[in-house]
């Protein structure tokens, strides 16, 4: 071999020398399984009967992996795997800290829930046009976005999940879907391109793309101007992805047009990826610039939560009510980022996880409600309490949970956030959180009152659940998601511990950086600097 003639070099300068622990492989398994099963579904696209079984197997395996990863991170701390054996900062690293692992876990749950629900909802044409491959691709894109430790790689995962979501959004190609998809596609594309431009500036300024490396270099950089510009550009791009006011208009224009299962997974995952990216960039990488942007973030947060809730009040279509509630929730998550204190961030982490589960469940619920009532129009729906009492119970639980009323999971994070706001004297932010919670309660309880409590509209006939095909699998799925919110509401202690740990890790990025650089020997570290 030609290699023998070359001068001898020490591979330890460039490579990770120890074999990764078997448990560390869990960090890449969602990616591998997601892509393998998406590929299998693509190859069996004509076989619409076997394809769902393959897809559900894949979703279950992904869920098992993220559960395993979550436990692994919970017990052993941050997990890192350097792709292709290259030492950081040269190789792309996958890093699972508590935040990433938790969000990946919830994504796995949400993915499986919507996948099962869609068994009855997606018809054969939609299966043939790739419902399940797109779903798996989007899910693995989302999970990898939560786990990657490389900023350009994050951009790639954003595009992967964007492509998957485009595919899901236009399945069916109805007129309103095409209209919604056009707005969704353009605005999201502009947002990711802005993200790419910000990545380019990061590379120009720091000469690296590894998040831990950027964080290390940004911390010792004296010039505030360029760094703050980059942070602001990131804030703009991700606020657009997260649908925060005033960049929220694409969301209510598009989320109600596809199937409800698709709307559910969009509401559960996509905007939260934007929130995650904001937390990661502004807290782990540019913490000093978050302090400078804090007031702007707080204003955006307050405006999003209030206008989202007011928007929800003004809608007649149940699906569009939910679209605005997603925006309102984003505002509440951003409030913790604006405050930046341990209590606030803990509240944000808890609320993000809560919102992912509850918004998904609400969309699935409205799917069943729409099928049972025969309409999504609040003027005409009604009488479901008589025909579907258990669905009414689920609906009431979810309505209370999304409004932040006890005894469900929305209560605790809001308490944290209100307390954190008052601690720093931001009484107006606390007031915004409370008022938006009040308005959300009105909007969602009105939905409950009209669709369930009111007697059925004379022209309409409400079906019982036995007559609604989506309900047979949908109700157990909903019950499971409701169970999560009830448990988190009644016994919040373990959830609060996890979110406190997330907040601690976010406020002390040194742990993240050290975990990424752990495999690097001291000699090589000197060479890099």
């Amino acid at each position: 071999m030609a290699a023998a003639e070359r001068p001898a070099i020490d591979p330890a300068d460039a490579f990770v020398m120890e074999a990764p622990a078997l448990a560390d492989w869990l960090i890449v398994m969602p990616l591998v399984i997601g892509f393998i099963f998406a590929a299998l579904c693509l190859m069996t696209r004509k076989d619409t009967r076997r394809q769902p079984a393959i897809a559900i197997t894949g979703l279950v395996l992904i869920l098992l992996c993220v559960v395993g990863l979550f436990v692994h991170v919970l017990v052993n701390g941050t997990v890192v795997m350097a792709m292709g054996r290259w030492l950081p900062p040269f190789g792309i690293a996958f890093v699972a800290d508590m935040l990433g692992a938790t969000l990946a876990l919830i994504s796995g749950i949400v993915g499986l829930a919507t996948g099962i629900y869609a068994l009855r909802e997606a018809d054969n044409t939609e299966r043939r046009y790739g419902f399940y491959p797109f779903l798996l691709m989007m899910l693995s894109g989302v999970i990898c976005a939560f786990l990657t430790g490389d900023i350009f790689n994050l951009y790639v995962w954003f595009e992967v999940l964007l492509l998957g979501s485009f595919g899901l959004l236009i399945l069916g190609s109805r007129r309103d879907q095409l209209d919604g998809a056009t707005k969704y596609a353009f605005l999201n594309l502009v947002a990711t391109t802005l993200f790419l431009i910000a990545v380019a500036y990061v590379y120009g300024l720091f000469g690296t793309l590894n998040m831990a490396d950027i964080a290390r270099k940004a911390a010792v950089m004296d010039e505030v101007g360029p760094r703050l510009t980059i942070a602001a550009l990131f804030f703009f791009a991700f606020a657009m992805k997260a649908a925060a006011f005033p960049l929220n208009f694409w969301l209510p224009a598009s989320y109600h047009t596809p199937r409800l299962a698709v709307g559910a997974i969009f509401a559960g995952l996509l905007t939260k990826v934007g929130v995650y990216a904001l937390l990661r960039i502004l807290l782990t990488i540019f913490p000093a610039d978050r302090d400078d942007l804090a007031v702007a973030i707080a204003v955006v947060a307050a405006a999003s939560m209030l206008l989202g809730a007011i928007g929800a009040l003004a809608q007649t279509d149940m699906r569009r009510v939910l679209g605005y509630l997603v925006i309102s929730g984003i505002g509440i998550m951003l409030a913790g980022l604006a405050l930046g204190s341990a209590t606030g961030l803990s509240g944000t982490a808890f609320y993000t996880a809560h919102s992912m589960v509850v918004m998904t469940a609400l969309y699935l619920l409205v799917g069943i409600v729409g099928a049972a009532a025969g309409t999504f129009d609040l003027h005409r729906a009604g009488g479901l309490y008589a025909t579907a009492p258990w669905l009414a119970v689920v609906a009431l639980v979810l309505a209370f949970s999304v409004s932040g009323l006890p005894p469900f999971s929305g209560l605790w994070p809001k308490i944290f956030l209100v307390k954190a706001s008052i601690d720093v004297g931001a009484w107006w932010l606390a007031a915004a959180i409370l008022v938006s919670g009040f308005l959300t309660t009105i909007a969602i309880v009105r939905l409950f009152a009209f669709a369930f409590w009111r007697p059925a509209h004379p022209d309409m006939r409400s079906l019982s659940l036995a007559e609604v095909p989506v309900a047979r699998l949908g109700l157990p799925v909903l019950a499971g998601l409701c169970g999560l919110t009830v448990i988190a509401g009644l016994y919040p202690e373990p959830f609060i511990q996890v979110s406190d740990r997330i907040a601690f890790e976010l406020m002390n990025p040194a742990g993240y950086i050290d975990a990424v650089y752990a495999p690097m020997p001291a000699a090589a570290e000197g060479a890099v600097q």
Binding site: Y155, L163, L178, L189, T193, L196, Y203, A253, A314
Partner: protein
Amino acid sequence: METAVAVLTGLYFAVSIYLMLSRHIIRILLGTVTLSTGANLTIFAMGRITREVPPIIPSGLYLPAEGAANALPQALVLTAIVIAFSLFAFLLVLVMRSYQELGTDDTYAMRDAEPEGEPLPPLGY
């Protein structure tokens, strides 16, 4: 050299913003394509531009030649071009389909998802 590319990038961004402010979808589409080209040029300029030395390691050596071009921005731009290309292909088909279905490319007239003049939600129980 970077200055010239920076000016060019600025021009691209100006053109793309002008196009994206239009009401017509096809112009917005061209605007987003121009925007991603501008982004690619930005990455390219950020990697510092050198001339005529390709970043290929000669046979038998471990390091590329002195003054070789920076390979990383090239890889990033290539990835970004591929992604932008696939998204452009998708958007083109989407725009064509929605023009056929909706019969307009004017964003003001595209009100199928959010119809104009919707009634208020029920005000009384």
